[in-house]
Symmetry: C2
Subunit: 127 residues, 2 copies
DNA sequence: CCGTATCCTTGCAGATACTG
DNA sequence: CAGTATCTGCAAGGATACGG
């Protein structure tokens, strides 16, 4: 196991420790579809095509891959009901819900700073 | 300005409104180098090659692009000192600092859940 | 020292078609 | 309904070289 930076200064706090895994988590949050799916599962469990419709224009392939990734990290559960037309339910785990909280905080920040960011961009581009 | 989704249901709360911009912000957080740079600027301002060394193995190209993106969004400032060897300082803006807070919260969550996630992955892969 | 310009590879994601 | 398989493009990013 590679030691995560036995570096001289640790002035950056949390951001320096466990770099790999943290980047992993950040990547998931940065992933377009993961966040969308997590948000949609925030209220109740959903079925595959239900998520597909809600997350348009996601492709089947991407939804499938996204869900498998989330399941792998223990963020969602996949429950197969052996009914006549097959039915699969996806739901957030406790860990998934705790991530949802953070994502919502981030979304809140984005909303609060949206106008300012747009202004900054306009100013920057006008040059 | 485009209205942020005059959609039918808003069951997912914040995650549904202003989708485009929010995804933009999330993408920045998910971006490998942006977070690293923001964290390194958390304590004090830094010079270009200083950031370059601290963020290894980032390439010049990527650091340049990352910094320009952050500057464009008003997250960092770029200050050129007209000294004999050219010197450029990058620093976090107030907006940058406020994002740093969120990123640190996210990093904290990652640390708290690191072990659990690794376990989930191992269990998932062992099948 | 602080970048930009160019080339070139790679991996991600869309489209499409098919299976249990 | 709930996915997997294959093929293909396209753009992000590494390597390298050069300019202010």
């Amino acid at each position: 196991m590679a030691h995560p930076l036995p570096d001289v200064d640790d002035t950056s706090g949390l951001c320096e420790q466990g770099r790999d895994l943290i980047r992993d988590v950040l990547a998931r949050v940065g992933d377009k579809w993961s966040v969308v799916v997590i948000c949609q599962l925030g209220d109740t469990s959903r079925r595959f095509n239900e998520l597909r419709r809600m997350s348009e224009p996601i492709t089947q392939r991407m939804l499938s891959a996204t869900l498998r990734g989330l399941e792998r990290d223990g963020l969602v559960t996949r429950t197969v009901h052996d009914t006549k037309p097959p039915r699969v339910d996806y739901a957030l785990t406790p860990r998934g819900f705790s991530l949802l909280e953070i994502v919502r905080a981030l979304a809140g920040w984005a909303e609060d700073n949206a106008a300012g960011i747009v202004d900054s961009r306009t100013a920057f581009d006008a040059r």
